[in-house]
């Protein structure tokens, strides 16, 4: 194997000779330069491969003496791993800087080489003074390279950086010399083995000085202003190096010193790391400058990494060297290394100061890269950050360090907030100017992104026992993306085929309740997707995300382990978020949606982690064995699912998400995705049953939440002017009923929930598809701009009519059966109050449902819609498939009730009997067939009467008021249906004032103003930053309690 000393030799040799070589021309010099970097990378690659094949750690001695009498280096698995990335990053960074290196003097090349050598040295050396020397080599090269951009800003930033770095080196040097004085040698390994010597007061101070110097190099909050300035002002190619390469070196040195730290320091240092993670992300919330934002994120990640390195010491088993790749820290490191470098490179390519000004100028590659990096940083699957987050939280729970989960969750959410906000804003930006980007600049981020993706198999150890099909959503999305060249409709067909094939594939795996859900997701998905075929316009990303969403929905009920569940859950979250983001005004609602969804996901993750901690396994079945953590797991899961269900209080994401998603997507959200929370509750109750907290039975509490959701959802729907908002609140209300009935924990309750769930899919699918069809013709969702469409769109009218009859729960259609089952189930259980309230909510539902017909289809046609045609068949066909389904199950309820009841019977004993088409319960019976016949008969009589008298109807002009010499400033007020329920608003409006929205807004504002407060410590003054460092040192010293 090549002696790693040759890394230094190569770097130094070419650095020393470059000025001479440069006489031959810059191209030659650059050739030698890139060759050297490649050679260095090759050396590390060889070593890395050797360790992969089981090589042992190698110690490299210099000067022909053994340590501690001479300096030695070490090449081990971890070293090779870190160096592999460092040298890979170096090569990429050098490629990115190609232009700068060409135009600047040869010095830049030399400095770059010494920088790389310094970082490699920092990683390999085992001599503490040698660490100092390599630190200086690294820092001084960096100081000079920061000067590559010469303006007052970057020079000022560089100077502050030198001050901070100089202070750190001074403390390091003092610490090192005292460590030497006390232990009599400078070899790290020997010092570690003679650790007790350092446990005197002087020794601890020496150790403290060494450690604090490296902490400062890791840029801890709040003593890190200088680093932020450099991230912001330096050439992005250099910032990328600082954030990735140099940070890697520093982190590794810190890691080397960890064995020396007294155990009593760990807690405080972890706390400081976590503080950095949380507060840097908090401060990032207010940041507008893209690179400074990246700086905050980098610093936060370093804080987390530092904390994790200390925490990992406590996981005795996780340090198996063979799995270094799959270690949490390694995954976090790789994730951050590649993503952050990539983002800095992108920031150089885009070259816009403000994050809000970013745009990709119609370069799909850049969009893709941006997405990969941002998603990786946020920790979405399949990137390393996801596995890191997953493992970290489960391990923390397992090793009884649950408290640390909280800062990790808060910090992750804050980071996700600003990164995803940025992503959303950038994707939605108007893309006008076309800028030519040199190819070589795109290569480095591209390679970084590719590595982030292909590194995926390294996480195989986490996926043991996991079914491959849980990655099908990604696979399907990738396939559709590759088929981008096809005509749009063809792609849609392919997607539907994929769904069908997937359905066929999973059919044998699904039984009972699961099968019902699979039926909803796959069959519903296929039917609703038909509507998306209406247009042949290219839709970037549409089919990819759609197939991902539907497939992950279908996978969730099939999950056997919490890992599978969570992975599919995350895929669902991401794809649905991206679909909302695609909507015309989707930016804001998508952000709200993803924040709530990620919050819910993290709650669920924590619950799973606790379950893992207690049982030691990931199987979901084990939820039923929980004892110690049963209550917290129960509550966390319930909260997570409540958020997903948009229950009262956490519903504010819902109207925006539903209404801003594209019209063809909303039916999928409302009809299918909302049901996944129902599955969640079924899972929760199925495994954990009833739990009591204090005097409260938790299912009863959930039932109340359900009924209030039903009630307020209906109430809020009443006052909407936008049809999609109205339907969104209606869905919320319906879901409330489902939560209520599933909380009953009885056979009848669950039957009701599942029955409602299926019928809700049908009629909400119809309604939203009908709306989509109408909107596709008239281009508005405001009800007061509609009216009289009955003549133009009779088919849509029929489907809406049938749907609202079904929703409202009047006989004869299927909704009646649902309501009937619900009241029966509630009364059977003795929940009379809930029954009363849900009855009241049902009454309110009439108010808004009535408007759908009245405002859209009745009244007078507006002039500009005279030429409107019926919605295209692509909308009508799926609607009528649902119409047929509703008719069928209204007529023959046992078509659907029987399988549902049979499925539920595996959970609860049944008290329901069947007699032909008649359902018989203790409280009465329901014969769908008869109800249908009777109602039809009753309905037909007045209908015929009206039809006979139709010529007697007097027509009224709709816009009389416009001709009354007034010109209204708000045209909507001239519509007869505007603010239709104003009179009710006076009576009960206080109930629907946006208090909850205001609450969440103030939460957001509170975080933002906190962020604004905290960032004022960064005054921009180099001396203040130096003072911060001194204060940090003194405070940390006193908190560590050095005695």
């Amino acid at each position: 194997m090549v002696n790693p000393i040759y890394i230094f030799v190569i770097a130094l040799f070419s650095a020393f000779l470059l000025p001479v070589i440069d006489k031959l021309g810059r191209k030659v010099t650059l050739g030698v330069f890139y060759l050297s970097l490649t050679a260095i990378f090759a050396v590390t690659l060889l070593w890395f491969r050797a360790f992969g094949e089981g090589a042992l750690i190698e110690n490299i001695f210099t000067a022909g003496s053994l340590p501690p009498f001479s300096i030695n280096l070490r090449m081990g698995t971890i070293e090779a791993f870190i160096m592999l990335f460092v040298n890979f990053g170096a090569l990429l960074g050098a490629i990115y800087l190609y232009g700068k290196l060409l135009e600047n003097k040869v010095y830049a090349l030399m400095l770059f080489l010494t920088l790389i050598m310094g970082v490699n040295g920092l990683i390999m050396t085992r001599d503490i003074f040698n660490i100092f020397v390599f630190l200086e080599i690294t820092s001084i090269s960096l100081y000079a390279l920061i000067g590559i951009k010469q303006d007052a800003r970057s020079l000022g930033a560089g100077f502050k950086y030198i001050i901070a770095g100089g202070l750190a080196s001074a403390f390091l040097l003092l610490g090192i010399i005292y460590v030497y004085r006390i232990t009599g040698n400078l070899n790290l390994d020997l010092i570690i083995s003679e650790n007790p010597l350092l446990l005197s007061k002087g020794g601890l101070i020496a150790l403290f000085l060494v450690v604090v110097a490296f902490l400062i190099e890791l840029k801890p909050w709040p003593a890190n202003g200088w680093a932020l300035d450099v991230y912001e002002a330096a050439e992005p190619g250099i910032s990328a190096m600082v954030a990735s390469l140099v940070a890697a070196g520093m982190v590794f040195v810190f890691y080397k010193f960890i064995p020396l730290l007294p155990h009593s320091w760990h807690g405080m240092l972890i706390l400081f790391g976590m503080l950095t993670f949380v507060f840097s992300n908090l401060t990032g919330l207010k940041q507008k400058n893209a690179r400074r934002l990246l700086g905050y994120s980098s610093i936060a990640q370093m804080g987390l990494l530092m904390a994790v390195l200390l925490l990992v010491r406590r996981f005795n088993d996780a340090m198996d060297i063979r799995y270094a790749l799959s270690d949490i820290a390694a995954a976090l490191f790789v994730n951050h290394f590649l993503a952050k470098a990539g983002l800095f490179w992108l920031s150089g390519i885009i070259n816009k100061e403000k994050a809000r000004d970013w745009s990709f100028n119609k370069q799909p590659v850049l969009v893709l890269l941006f997405a990969v990096f941002i998603f990786a940083l946020v920790g979405l699957p399949p990137f390393p950050g996801f596995w890191a987050k997953w493992t970290l939280i489960t391990k923390l729970a397992q090793y009884n360090m649950i408290g640390w989960i909280v800062p990790i969750i808060i910090g992750s959410l804050l980071e996700a907030a600003y990164l995803l906000r940025w992503f959303g804003a950038t994707i939605k930006r108007e893309q006008t100017e076309q800028v030519i980007i040199p190819r070589y600049k795109i290569l480095p981020p591209l390679l970084a992104a590719i590595v982030l993706v292909i590194i995926f198999p390294s996480f195989a150890p986490y996926m043991t026992g996991m079914k491959t099909m849980f990655f099908f959503p990604l696979l399907a999305a990738a396939v559709l993306w590759l088929l981008d060249v096809m005509p749009e409709r063809m792609r849609g067909m392919v997607m539907i085929l994929i769904l069908a094939a997937f359905g066929w594939y999973i059919y044998p795996l699904a039984k009972g309740i699961v099968l019902i859900f699979e039926f909803m997701f796959i069959a519903g998905g296929i039917v609703i997707s038909l509507a998306s075929l209406n247009s042949a316009r290219p839709k970037q990303g549409y089919w990819e995300f759609l197939v991902m969403l539907i497939m992950s929905l279908a996978l969730i009920p099939l999950a056997k382990s919490s890992m599978e569940f969570f992975l599919a859950w995350e895929f669902m979250t991401v794809s649905s978020w991206l679909l909302i983001l695609r909507g015309k005004n989707g930016e804001k609602p998508a952000l709200t949606y993803i924040m709530f969804s990620l919050g819910a996901a993290l709650l669920i993750l924590t619950a799973f982690a606790l379950s893992f901690a207690e049982t030691g396994e990931l199987g979901l079945v084990l939820l039923s064995n929980l004892n110690i953590y049963a209550i917290p797991v129960y509550i966390l899961l319930a909260l997570g699912f409540l958020v997903k269900a948009a229950a009262m209080g956490v519903h504010i994401w819902l109207p925006g998400a539903y209404s801003e998603a594209e019209d063809e997507v909303t039916p999928i959200f409302a009809g299918m995705m909302s049901k996944i929370s129902l599955w969640g509750f079924i899972l929760l109750f199925g495994y954990m049953g009833n739990k009591v907290l204090g005097i409260f039975e938790l299912p009863v509490l959930l039932g109340w939440i359900g009924v209030f959701t039903a009630f307020f959802g209906a109430l809020m729907a009443v006052f909407q002017e936008d049809i999609k908002y109205l339907l969104a609140y209606s869905s919320m209300s319906q879901l409330g009923y489902m939560i209520l009935s599933v909380s009953l924990l009885s056979h009848l309750g669950w039957t009701t929930a599942l029955y409602m769930s299926v019928t809700h899919l049908f009629f909400k699918g119809m309604l939203f598809l009908a709306v989509a069809g109408i909107v596709s013709r008239i281009g508005t969702t405001k009800m007061y701009e509609m009216g009289g469409l009955i003549k133009k769109m009779p088919a849509s009218f029929i489907s809406v009519l049938i749907a609202i009859i079904a929703v409202s729960g009047v006989p004869p259609l299927s909704g009646f059966g649902g309501k009937w089952l619900l009241y029966t189930a509630l009364i059977e259980k003795g929940w009379y109050l809930q029954a009363g309230l849900s009855f009241f909510a049902g009454a309110i539902a009439f108010l808004y449902l009535f408007r759908l017909i009245h405002t859209i289809f009745l009244g007078q046609l507006k002039a500009r819609f005279r030429e409107v045609k019926e919605a295209s068949l692509w909308y009508i066909v799926p609607q009528f498939i649902f119409v047929g389904a509703i008719m069928a199950i209204s007529m023959f309820p046992n078509l659907i009730l029987k399988p549902i009841m049979a499925a539920v019977e595996t959970q609860f004993p049944s008290h329901v009997n069947w007699d032909g088409y008649t359902v018989i319960t203790a409280l009465g019976y329901w014969n769908g067939n008869a109800v249908m016949m009777i109602t039809m008969g009753v309905f037909m009589v007045p209908l015929i009467w009206l039809l006979v008298r139709v010529n007697m109807v007097q027509k009224v002009e709709q816009f009389n008021i416009v001709y009354a010499a007034e010109r209204p400033d708000r045209p909507e007020t001239t519509h007869f249906a505007y603010n239709f329920f104003a009179h009710y608003q006076k009576a009960i409006g206080f109930l629907v004032k946006e208090q909850i929205t205001n609450f969440w807004n103030s939460v957001s504002e509170w975080f933002h103003s906190l962020s604004a407060t905290f960032r004022h410590i960064y005054t921009g003054n180099g001396q203040t930053y130096a003072l911060h460092i001194i204060i940090y040192i003194v405070v940390l010293y006193s908190l560590l309690g050095v005695k």
Partner: protein, 228 residues
């Protein structure tokens, strides 16, 4: 003002942090394990009379290579930072005749002295760094005496590059022919206390001297050039 106040408080507190380092650590009374071994075997092992030189050039040779690299980086860094797109017209100024003739007399002597220091680095105090500085100061004297005189950029470059490269080659020779990178014993140790002794130490120290000298001159030259 409030910042001064905080500075005062925290500097004092920092002093309190340092205090135990003075009070708790007793003065050294005997050599630690590493230096005891150097004292016992260093002379026999490496053959250099100056133990500090043994430590600097061989035992901790990697540090010294790093140190030379640091100077090298600084030279490069200064050249890099002070780069300019346009060259301003030169202003001429005459140096005094006495200074000029004095310099031409002193210059060879000083350079010789510098060479002496690094060639004898393994025997007497001083070595590559000190000798290099002496040589650099000679050149500075020259630059001061004749404001228009600048050391030839090319020669400096070559000197710096080659001495550095040879230093690295010495290291590799140690690796291949002797016990490890920068081991001085691939040349015979010779007779203790003589100029041609201690293996490659004099060679390495001379290379260091040349390199340091060239680099320091480079630094001053670059700063001086800015002048114009």
């Amino acid at each position: 003002m409030i910042k001064r106040f905080f500075s005062l408080i925290f500097v004092v507190l920092l002093a309190l942090v340092f205090l135990p380092l003075v009070t708790e650590i007793k003065p050294l009374s005997e050599l630690g394990m590493t230096s005891a071994k150097y004292a016992e075997d260093g002379a026999a092992e490496l053959g250099a009379a100056n133990l500090v030189t043994s430590v600097v050039v061989t035992y901790r040779g990697l540090d010294t290579l790093g140190e030379v690299t640091v100077l090298f980086i600084t030279t490069a860094g200064i050249g890099f930072m002070l780069r300019r797109k346009t060259i301003l017209p030169e202003k001429k100024r005459r140096a005094s005749e006495i200074l000029k003739s004095g310099t031409s007399f002193l210059l060879p002597l000083i350079i010789l002295f510098g060479v002496y220091i690094f060639v004898h680095g393994h025997l007497t105090p001083g070595g590559g760094f000190q000798g290099g500085v002496v040589i650099a100061s000679a050149i500075v004297l020259l630059m001061l005496s004749d404001i228009n005189m600048h050391p030839d950029h090319n020669i400096l470059n070559w000197l710096e590059s080659l001495s550095g490269a040879f230093y690295v080659i010495m290291g590799i020779l140690g690796l291949i022919l002797a016990g490890g990178f920068l081991d001085n014993r691939f040349l015979p140790l010779g007779e203790f206390g003589k100029i041609f002794s201690a293996g490659a130490i004099p060679v390495i120290y001379s290379l260091i001297g040349l390199k340091v000298g060239a680099e320091l001159v480079g630094i001053l030259n670059k700063l001086g050039r800015e002048d114009k």
